[in-house]
Structures are given as structure tokens and as C-alpha cells.
């Protein structure tokens, strides 16, 4: 019963998954590099943190675009 979904919804779900994958890669890179630079230069932790959050928010914005498009595909009749 759970698996009987229309094709568009299935493709939208795959799209949302790919977006989450890409955003995960992006945010992972940001977090990794931020940790590396904090380890190199612990006194710059505040600057690095705010820039990290900003960059993460920008990546997330792109991912949410994909999510909204996927939602629209599912909800539009």
C-alpha cells in the first residue's frame, strides 16, 4: 500500500534525495574545512564559525530550492 505511489511522486522523491545528497556533501566540506582552519588557528574561531554558518545557509538554500520543487511536483494535481 505504501509503495503504490504515482510516478511523478517517485521521481520527485529521487530528486529530493539527490538534493539532500549534494547538500550533505557541500555542508560536510564546509564543516570539515572549518574544523581544519579552527585547528590551525584556534583564535579565529568566531570569524570562522559565522562564515561557516553563512556558507552552510547558502548551500542549504540551494537544497531547499530542490525540496520545494519536489514538493510542488507531489502537491500539484
Amino acid at each position: 500500500m505504501l509503495l503504490e505511489v504515482p510516478l511523478a511522486a517517485g521521481v520527485a522523491a529521487i530528486g529530493a534525495g539527490v538534493a539532500a545528497l549534494a547538500a550533505g556533501l557541500g555542508i560536510g566540506r564546509i564543516g570539515g574545512s572549518a574544523l581544519e582552519s579552527i585547528a590551525r588557528q584556534p583564535e579565529a574561531v568566531n570569524d570562522i564559525r559565522s562564515n561557516m554558518i553563512l556558507a552552510a545557509a547558502l548551500v542549504e538554500g540551494a537544497a531547499f530550492f530542490a525540496m520545494v520543487v519536489a514538493l510542488l511536483v507531489v502537491l500539484a494535481k
Partner: protein, 400 residues
């Protein structure tokens, strides 16, 4: 030390919750036969209601429908119960028709087939849209297109409630600043002061600059606290709170629109020159670059809108989806429903903590990005090195 105690008490709480749910499980299994009887009873009622309505199967749980209903705006405030016998708080419907003003309570059109006879037209509520109908419920499309809906809906009421709460808090804080001038902050004041200073020092001063930041502080603080308070209010599930206000795309559109207007108004010659004709760029490249820059001006607030909308809506959807799992499994067997509820509640508590972080983070990101856009608009150009940095910045914004 205090950290340790905190973690311990959270663990303790989760554990006791787990134990409490586990103890409920066998009780439900022992009470299996009475449940079956209840089900039979329900079936009898169902056949009766099926005879009344053509489509009788109203008990089937539709997760998607439930979630969309809860994150959307509504003409009444749903408290508990499902379709047939739900308890609502009716909210006023205010319509501006071509014949004049019309005000009535939404309880008059609460049920599916209710028709309210107003002074000018007859109205019916259909999928949260007020529609003009005739005596038999046929929609009059022409008249419906002419009415403008100014109703105090769930979201409108939430804006009023949040405005009142913010007024109460900030008038009190402002008064204590007047009374206790030069002294250390006290009470509510010492709770708000770090947040206000955070916005001033870490957001406005660093993004807009020491010289010009003061003009934009009122807007930045208002945007921050409006989003922050409404994000938090969205997380509280009981009556005057719990509406998905900052996850409503119209509210986000207005907030991002104000940022756009503030940016455009405060943009100086330097800013506009960089948009229409980037200095030091050959003309053939400008043909491509200028449209991109122009789109970027509108695209940035647009992304601001989508980001806030999607983050907060996603938070609400996740919580509701975890609760839906209980009912989806509960429909298959009652035991599975109770079993899944343990996992479901644990995940919802975890997501709740994450959403507390997101509530602050999204308010912060919205304010920070608004401040950066305003900062780019008021910046004075200096030397070549800054140009490069700025171009890099703008490129990332356009991509995002």
C-alpha cells in the same frame, strides 16, 4: 559540572518516557478483546454512516492530507478531534465584496455543506477559500473573483499575538533601561541584552560597517526578533501558538520584500555602478554580466524567502510525519502503533531540540544576509584589492 547534570537529567527523562511507554504496551495487549469489540462497534457505526454518506470510509488516515492541513493557513483554529467531531475556535471572516463589507464568524461555514446567508451574497467555505454560492451550493465564479478576503485567519491571529508579546517584552525592557540607566541589566532586560548586542556587534557592525550601521539597526532587530519569536511560537503546539507562520510563503515574501526595498533605497552610486556597468570589465562581457547582476538583485531576497519558508515548513513536516507514522502503523495493528510511538516520540523530542537551534539559526541567517545585502549597497569603493573580494562575494550570492 552543570553540563553533566543536564545531560544526565535529559537521559533520565528519555529513559522514564521509554519505561512509561513500555509499561503501557502490555496493558494494551491484555485489553485486546475489548478493543476488538470496540472495533466491531465502530464498524456498526460505520455502516450506518456509510448509508448516510455515499463515501463512508472517513476513518482511513491520510498522512499527506493531515500534514498539509496543519502547515497551511485556516479560517478556524483546530484544537483536537478529526473531521466529523473536531473542536475548533472560530475566527472572524472579513470580506470586502463589490457590494460592501461583510463580517461573520467562520463557525457559520465550518462544516462541509454549510451555506451562510450574508447581507450581500451566500457563502461557502471550500478548501479554505470563501466562495460565493447560490441556494444549492453551486459556485458563482464571477462573484467569487470579486471578493477580497481580509479574514483574521490562524496566521493573522498569530501575527497579532506575537506582536502583542513582543510589545509587552520590549516596552518592559525599554522602561528598565530608562529607569536603571548606567546600571547592570536585571531580569528580562539581562535576557534580551545579549541578543540585541549580538545583532549589533556581530551582524550589523561587521556587515554594514561602523559608520552606517545605526540607521539599519531598527529594521535588523525587528526582523530578527519577529522571525525568532514566531519560530519559537511555532514549536509550541497548544492554542495561541503552533501556527506555521514563518513557514508561510506570503509572510516570508513580505519579510524578504522589505529587505529588498531597504537595499534598493539605501543603494549608493557605487552599488548601482557595479550592477549596471562593473568597472574594469570590457563591454562585450558587460552584455552578459549586467543582466546577471540585475537578476541577482531580485534573486537574493528570493532565496532569502525560500530559505526561511522551507526550513521552518520542513521542521513542521518532520514533526507531523513522525506522528503520522504512529497512525499509519496503528491502522495495521494497535500493538504496532504503540510500538512505533516509542521511536516516534523519541525522534520528535530529538528533532524538537534541533528545531530550537534552527529557530535561532534561521532568524540569525535572515538578519545576517539582510545586513550583508544592505552593507553591499552602502559600501564606498576604495581600491583595487577590495574589488576582487567583492566580486567573489557577489559570485557566491548569485550561485546561491
Amino acid at each position: 559540572m552543570s553540563n553533566k547534570i543536564n545531560i544526565f537529567s535529559v537521559k533520565n527523562f528519555c529513559f522514564s518516557l521509554f519505561v512509561a511507554v513500555l509499561t503501557l504496551l502490555p496493558a494494551k495487549t491484555f485489553a485486546y478483546e475489548p478493543i476488538e469489540e470496540e472495533n466491531n462497534h465502530d464498524e456498526v457505526i460505520d455502516t450506518v454512516s456509510a448509508a448516510k454518506h455515499a463515501e463512508g470510509n472517513s476513518t482511513a488516515f491520510n498522512a499527506g492530507e493531515m500534514i498539509i492541513e496543519h502547515i497551511g493557513d485556516s479560517h478556524q483554529w483546530h484544537l483536537w478531534g478529526d473531521h466529523g467531531h473536531a473542536v475548533h475556535i472560530p475566527l472572524p471572516v472579513i470580506l470586502w465584496t463589490d457590494k460592501g463589507l461583510e463580517i461573520f464568524s467562520s463557525s457559520k461555514v465550518e462544516h462541509h455543506e454549510d451555506i451562510y446567508e450574508g447581507t450581500h451574497y451566500k457563502y461557502m467555505l471550500h478548501n479554505e477559500h470563501i466562495e460565493v454560492v447560490d441556494n444549492f451550493g453551486n459556485v458563482d465564479e464571477e462573484a467569487t473573483a470579486k471578493i477580497k478576503d481580509f479574514s483574521i485567519t490562524k496566521n493573522a491571529l498569530t501575527i497579532i499575538v506575537s506582536a502583542l508579546i513582543m510589545l509587552l517584552i520590549f516596552i518592559k525592557v525599554a522602561k528598565s533601561y530608562k529607569r536603571r540607566e548606567g546600571m547592570a541589566p536585571k531580569g528580562l532586560q539581562s535576557f534580551m541584552e545579549p541578543l540585541i548586542l549580538f545583532i549589533r556587534d556581530d551582524v550589523a557592525k561587521t556587515s554594514i560597517g561602523e559608520k552606517k550601521y545605526e540607521r539599519y539597526m531598527p529594521y535588523l532587530l525587528t526582523a530578527f526578533f519577529f522571525i525568532f519569536f514566531n519560530n519559537l511560537m511555532g514549536l509550541i503546539p497548544i492554542f495561541p501558538f503552533g501556527a506555521n507562520l514563518t513557514g508561510n510563503i506570503s509572510v516570508c515574501l513580505v519579510l524578504a520584500g522589505i529587505t529588498l526595498v531597504v537595499t534598493l533605497i539605501s543603494g549608493n552610486g557605487h552599488y548601482w555602478r557595479h550592477i549596471f556597468a562593473m568597472p574594469g570589465v570590457p563591454i562585450p562581457v558587460l552584455i552578459i554580466l549586467t543582466p546577471i547582476e540585475l537578476i541577482g538583485v531580485v534573486l537574493r531576497p528570493f532565496v532569502l524567502m525560500i530559505r526561511l519558508f522551507a526550513n521552518i515548513t520542513a521542521g513542521h513536516i518532520i514533526a507531523l510525519a513522525f506522528f503520522s507514522l504512529i497512525f499509519i502503523f496503528g491502522e495495521k495493528s494497535t500493538g504496532a502503533g504503540y510500538g512505533v510511538s516509542v521511536v516516534s516520540i523519541a525522534f520528535t523530542v530529538f528533532m524538537g531540540f534541533l528545531e530550537l537551534l534552527v529557530a535561532f539559526l534561521q532568524a540569525y541567517v535572515f538578519t545576517l544576509l539582510s545586513a550583508i545585502y544592505i552593507g553591499a549597497a552602502v559600501e564606498e569603493g576604495h581600491h583595487e584589492h577590495e574589488h576582487h573580494v567583492e566580486k567573489g562575494h557577489e559570485a557566491t550570492h548569485v550561485i546561491a
